[in-house]
């Protein structure tokens, strides 16, 4: 059984939704539809539907819609999560190899399920990365060693699912199902002249747990959206999420 969770912002895209629903019916994978809203208790909704026999939950909307249900879906090991990108940001969908709108329905029907790691920052789950732009934070990695700035500020990211625009070394080395997160520390580009700029090579540190602290409270973004404040403890939940992915995925 399928449960489709529509983003609240999709009410202004009725034509595209009709196309998606028609395609889902043609493929024989239509199911119950629920519209997400701040007033709806997502945890209760998913728990009730899983107890009624739902084994596939599909979010329809942006990356934000997909990420918002991860924390609830990973509670049920028998449930697979799918996503149909429609409107809004779609960087995570690109990495997962999910085409837009009705084309993604075929991916859901093909049901290529992979187990992916999920990142946990304090109590917030994230799928792709956590970023701290331009700051002087201290990192404690796996409780064994500390990383401190060598003067100046830098950008820190803790990555699980690497975007196709990330540095080549990182893309080649990391996997969202290896049970590890990659901490990437990049120093700001130093100006050489009017147009030329150079940057020191980034640091890449695979780890399972990282504690981020700072002398002053610093803003932390998870999946480019949610905002936390330091101190933040980040850990990985290995192979926790069963996700339906496309053939064109980046990993």
């Amino acid at each position: 059984m399928y449960l489709y969770l529509y983003d609240a912002a999709l009410s202004n895209r009725p034509h595209q939704l009709v196309k998606v629903e028609t395609r889902l019916t043609d493929l024989g994978i239509s199911g119950k539809i629920s519209r997400l809203s701040p007033l709806k208790n997502l945890s209760e909704l998913i728990r009730d539907e899983v107890s009624n026999g739902v084994r596939t939950i599909v979010t329809v909307g942006s990356d934000r819609t997909l990420v918002s249900v991860i924390g609830e879906v990973i509670r049920f090991d028998q449930v697979a999560l799918g996503h149909i990108p429609l409107g809004g940001e779609g960087k995570i969908a690109d990495v997962l190899g999910l085409p837009l709108a009705e084309a993604a329905c075929d991916i859901i029907a093909a049901r290529r399920v992979v187990r992916l790691d999920v990142g946990l920052a304090n109590n917030t789950h994230f799928l792709s990365s956590l970023t701290i732009p331009d700051s002087q934070v201290a990192l404690e990695i796996d409780g064994q060693y500390q990383i401190k700035p060598n003067g100046g500020s830098y950008t820190v990211s803790v990555n699980n699912l690497i975007s196709s625009r990330a540095n080549e070394t990182l893309q080649a080395r990391s996997s969202p199902s290896d049970g590890l997160l990659e901490v990437v520390i990049e120093s700001p580009r130093a100006a050489l002249g009017m147009f030329r700029r150079t940057a020191a090579a980034p640091s890449i540190l695979p780890c399972q747990r990282v504690k981020i602290t700072s002398s002053q409270s610093v803003t932390v973004h998870t999946d480019g959206e949610r905002v936390l404040k330091t101190p933040v403890t980040v850990s990985v939940l290995p192979s926790k999420l069963r996700l339906i992915v496309g053939k064109q995925r980046n990993f």
Binding site: Q144, Y145, Q146, I147, K148, P149, N150, G152, Y154, T169, A172, R173, D178, L180, I185, E186, S187, A200, A201, P202, S203, I204, L205, P206
Partner: protein, 145 residues
Amino acid sequence: MFKREEDMPSNEVETIIGPSVKVEGDFTASGDVTVEGAVNGSVRTERHLRIGEQAKIAANVNAGSALVAGEIIGNITVRENLEITSTGKILGDIKTKVLTVAAGATLHGKCQVGEEPRPAKTERPETKPAREREAIFPLSAGGKR
């Protein structure tokens, strides 16, 4: 499709400590490690360790194999090959199986290179026949056979 195996990216996890950061503590990794920054404490990896020209390490180092182009203050134990380039500077003792030192490298410390000698078995020679003893210790008695 027809890429040679060496062209393919390795599945081993690689750790890179860039020039803009300083590591303090016991740094342990299971994959290859490249250090271009500063490390204080200890460095341990089962695989290859590469110390870049700008790197400054004040730590005891333990690795599967290593290439040193930067500065290390501390003792180094390498299971297989240790290569020190012309820019390499080591202030500490070295223990490795194979050592390569380029002209211009700095090395202050004791070197222990090669396989560790195995302790000889203590057997009573009088209990063995003379021919068997000769087979076990062919160069004994001043090298005469």
